[in-house]
Amino acid sequence: MTIPENLLYTKDHEWARLDGDKVTMGITDFAQGSLGDITFIDLPKPGAKVEQSKWCATVESVKAASDVYAPFSGEVLKVNTQLTGHPELVNKSAYDAGWFAVVKISDLEEKNKLMNSTQYKEYIQGLSK
């Protein structure tokens, strides 16, 4: 399982890659591994407003549907339309080709509520105990 160092993480297993006032988000390698084969992803619409820790997408695997929460509040700038036809990209490449959306951040301070890679690693280890 990989946990890239340059990303921020949520307790709900989303990752966030900051770029100025924009953030690219997705679900972690741990999340995709736990879900198994992903069959469908319901993404937000560009232009939609999302709120930190609130619903922004849904991931379906064969017999489960899991909600994905936004790591930052803001406006959705674009979504990964590749995922519509190829949801398996999330299984294959959770941090790159499997990104979900780019959000224009409304409050950068919200990053204080997120974990860095070391904290997230410890958090996951805590879950398996």
Binding site: T39, D42, K45, T58, E60, K63, A64, A65, D67
Partner: protein
């Protein structure tokens, strides 16, 4: 047979395990005002007494009338094979079975039913069925709101009042804006629909043929609705699809309807059959069960419940609907009915209905005082204007052996003299002519 599953001893054991002193104690959290004041139900009766009572009730039904009543439910012939096959014990259950994949035969039947509905409606995906035409229309409206994120629905008043009432009742606690548009000269008023159509509109709901029997082509409405980012919903009469342009050909997004005409007997309160079919792009918002075809590990064809992540047992409160089963037995009857007729038979059925209704229009048109409304084409049902109150005429015709139609004044203000007359393939030329004679007599007296 003991109808009460639990003995006093078992009840005591269960209460003890929960930690409640008595059954009343168990329900103490329910405020007094919300609890029934009493459970006064009569003493039990013997089987003989019950049968006699039911016979007494059934004698109140007028079963010997020649039926010209429609209004969404029609007196079609049901081939004996429908009862014989649907009554087989392997099939005789009302719902999708639990552990559905163990019941491959059932799943195949539902899959074939879905195929029939897709063929009839000209749309891509059907679910395993819903309760009736009204609940199907409600589910379609909810789907449209989820798909568009909008909360305004335009409803043509040619949609059955039964369906409209159900739609408003089911959604009475939700903040949805409903706008009803008028029927002018028997058909949907485009002008009014387009006046209300805006970027808040989730869907426009129409019906074909509409409640007055008028046939329409909604292609223009569908096109206009799509330009606005909204969806077009049509409630359709399945038998008419053997002849008329289908919802898919009109560009309709969601088609629903009442499946009673497909091999299900007319009965007060059902059970009936709701169907719903959608374009493929909308399938993830379909409610209820969907059966899919697949292959097993040996590459043999098999059937499974599919797209289950839409459903309640997985998605909980975010599910597309609280529907978690289907109207399996009625759907099976519809499938058997459609299979017995086949494509050519279905087309012939539609033609017979249309032609007999046209004959009835011509015949009734010759009755003095009766005006057959001809502003729009019709299928097997049409509106006539009588020189008297239609309710009264209906009553008189019952004494002459005819259920002569539905008095439109019951549903529409100012239409007290209008009668809706349905003519199915079961009506003979002689019956139609006797009907006209009796009507003439009823109007004279």
């Amino acid at each position: 047979m003991n109808y009460i599953a639990h003995t006093e001893l078992e009840k005591k054991e269960m209460l003890k395990a929960i930690g409640a002193v008595s059954v009343d104690d168990l329900f103490r959290h329910i405020p007094d005002g919300l609890r029934p004041k009493s459970f006064s139900i009569p003493e039990g009766k013997s089987e003989f007494d019950v049968i006699e009572y039911l016979k007494l009730l059934s004698r109140k039904n007028a079963t010997n009338l020649t039926d010209f009543v429609g209004g969404g439910f029609y007196d079609h012939y049901i081939p004996a094979a429908v009862d014989a096959l649907a009554g087989r014990s392997e099939f005789y259950t009302a719902y999708t079975p639990y552990q559905p994949e163990c019941s491959q035969g059932w799943l195949q039947a539902i899959y074939e039913y879905q195929t029939v509905i897709c063929e009839l409606t000209g749309l891509d995906v059907s679910n395993a069925s819903l309760y009736d035409g009204g609940t199907a229309l409600y589910e379609a409206a909810m789907m449209a709101m989820r798909l568009t994120g909008r909360k305004k629905i335009i409803v043509d008043s040619g949609v059955s009042l039964i369906y409209r009432t159900m739609l408003y009742a089911y959604t009475s606690n939700l903040s949805i804006e409903f706008v009803e548009t008028p029927v002018v000269h028997g058909q949907s008023c485009r002008e009014d629909i387009y006046k209300h159509l805006d970027d808040k509109t989730a869907a426009v709901i129409v019906q074909n043929p509409n409640f007055f029997g008028a046939v329409d082509d909604f292609s223009d409405i569908a096109q206009r609705v799509h330009k606005c980012g909204a969806l077009a919903i049509a409630s359709v009469y399945p038998v008419s699809l053997g002849m008329l342009k289908n919802p898919g050909e009109m560009g309709i997004d969601i088609a629903t309807g009442e499946g009673q005409s497909l091999g299900i007997p007319l009965s007060f309160g059902g059970p009936y059959l709701g169907f719903i079919a959608v374009k493929k792009e909308h399938m993830r918002q379909l409610p209820g069960r969907i059966v899919g075809a697949t292959v097993d590990k040996d590459n043999k064809r098999g059937f499974v419940l599919t797209l289950q992540a839409r459903e309640q047992h997985i998605r909980r409160e975010r599910a597309t609907s609280n529907i978690c089963s289907n109207e399996a037995l009625c759907a099976l009857r519809a499938l058997i009915y459609a299979s017995l007729l086949g494509k050519a038979g279905f087309q012939e059925l539609a033609r017979l209905n249309y032609q007999k209704a046209e004959f009835a229009k011509a015949t009734l048109g010759n009755v003095s005082g009766v005006e057959v409304k001809r502003s729009a084409p019709t299928f097997n049902e049409f509106t006539v204007c009588l020189p008297k109150n239609a309710d009264e005429v209906v009553y008189r015709m019952i004494n002459k052996g005819f259920a002569c139609g539905f008095p439109l004044g019951r549903f529409y203000k100012g239409l007290d003299n209008y009668l809706l007359v349905a003519v199915t393939e079961k009506r003979t030329k002689e019956e139609i002519m006797q009907f006209a004679n009796s009507l003439e007599a009823a109007l004279c007296s």
